[in-house]
Amino acid sequence: MSGEKLRIGFIPLADAAALIVAVDKGFAAAEGLDVELVREVSWSNIRDKLNIGIFDAAHLIAPVAIASSLGLGHVRVPILAPFGLGVNGNAITLSPALHVALCAAADGDVRDPMVSGRALARVVAKRKARGAEPLTFGMTFPFSTHNYHLRFWMAAAGVDPDEDVRLVVLPPPYMVESLANKHVDGFCVGAPWNSIAVDLGIGFILHFVSEILARTAEKVLGVRSAWAEENPDTLVRLIRAHDRAAAFIEDLANRDEVSAMLAAPNRIGVSADVIRRTLDGRLKVAPDGRVRANERYLLVGRAQATRPDPVQAAWLYAQMVRWGQAPLSLDLLAQAAAVFRPDLYDAALGKSQSQARPPPAIDGEPLDHVGAFAGPAFDANDIAAHLAAWKIGRH
């Protein structure tokens, strides 16, 4: 049996789950698609290979899809995201030394992000006073949720992410090693890397990012706009295959099978146990075995995580503006929001289209679609006012 040949690039991370299950469980083949999954080592490679057409579709960090569409930091290639591969899933991990320092400086429970943020501000101030090097935090890409998540948390507590600490890009596979070598004091990265640092006894998970922001789009299935126009039928089949894969992943009865599938050496290539903990949202957060559970840790096929939400795209664009990566304009905001295509998603899955503007809140989800732990509710229609509410920023 041979279907339509497609090449899809991915990075070995837990939120590539729907891509992997769609292929390895046969959902893609059932749609007449013969998908070759190509494992990549950098987001730059994924972006470039998608841009020049070596890949038909790709596992993309949501901000990369937006940056590419707006031509930020790179050549402008319009990208569409007709399907969400994951909401949330990141965590912030600290070195044992910084974890001890933060706990000592805390005026309450460090599991509260405002308490931990204030403690970080105190640690930073003390280091400055004694002339020590600033703390260094790793994140995965300039246009990444990890970058924005770290910044959001720090800045809410008065730490300027550009002046008070150093943020450096590190490829996820190098994160753990860099923490062990003390090249970084902490990092924000997706699964499974936080768990791997904890398992090795060299890191403490401070926060699931879902404790800081209840809902942020993490990875999307990205395709070139031009490709989507030329291959509308293939796009429909691609969306359907991944929707079935995402539902399969969320069914607890399939968890062991899915974990083993994702753990394969040519896929994510870590132990099935680590994958299982990630999907279950039950992570070991300290080398002594302490566990924290949060069902929002990573959403793959639940809570409408698969349906692209333009408000999420607007929030990501607002972060680009806040940190000086993009100018603020209504035109760019509209372009950013239009990268996320719930209409294509709905049409492919035969769901009735909602034309309501702004989109209605999702059942049980934050009213402003984001649910930040601090600051005003997000307003996609007035980003200028929203950003003006923050003291720290580069806009």
Partner: protein
């Protein structure tokens, strides 16, 4: 062709020392004397800043490409690099570069034609290296096959009291009948012999 400029500082980021050496040699032959190789990518940004290059060449198998992308962002840096992909006017050469497995970053305002020469050289050296690697792999596997066939011949000579030529002929005939490679049949003979031990 434009005269190559010896004043250009070029950094090669490649964890494969042989490929990096091949590329460096090519650049030096073309008149570039300021070529620095970085094999260990720890603290890559600091090292690149210290060298202050005009052109950075990096292999696409290197996860540290994402680290280089951060250079676009640093507002305090005086010189900002741009990726070769920013100018899409020469799509063919971009595709050739990705195909060869290399990417280039250009710092400051270098003239495009000067960079193109470097990129073209880079592509041809990367491709030459890939061919070399391929040849080496094939030689290696041919050697391995030779060893397997020799062992299988020995087993057959002992078990069936055959001459060396007859043992080889038997392997070849079986391979033809079963539509397999001689080395595959030889491997089966070895496996079977292990089982019967």
């Amino acid at each position: 062709m434009l005269p190559m400029d010896a004043s250009l500082k070029i950094v090669i980021v490649d964890e494969n020392p042989i490929r990096a050496a091949i590329l460096e040699e090519g650049l030096r032959e073309a008149g570039h004397v300021q070529v620095v190789r970085i094999a260990d990518t720890t603290r890559l940004l600091a090292r690149v800043y210290a060298i202050d290059p005009d052109v950075i060449l990096i292999d696409l198998e290197n996860p540290s490409r994402d680290v280089l992308e951060q250079m676009f962002q640093v507002s305090r840096a005086v010189k900002r690099p741009v990726a070769m992909f920013v100018d899409q006017s020469d799509k063919a050469s971009i595709e050739a570069a990705v195909d060869a497995g290399v990417s280039a970053y250009i710092v400051g305002s270098l003239r495009k034609d000067r960079v193109k020469n470097i990129l073209d050289l880079c592509i041809s050296r990367f491709n030459a290296f890939a061919r070399l690697q391929d040849e080496l792999d094939r030689t290696k596997s041919a050697l391995e096959e030779r060893k397997v066939i020799d062992r299988a011949k020995g087993i057959l000579m002992n078990a069936k009291n055959l001459s060396e030529d007859a043992a080889y002929a038997l392997l070849r005939k079986t391979a033809m009948n079963e539509n397999k490679k001689i080395a595959e049949v030889a491997q089966s003979v070895i496996t079977a012999a292990e089982l019967f031990k």
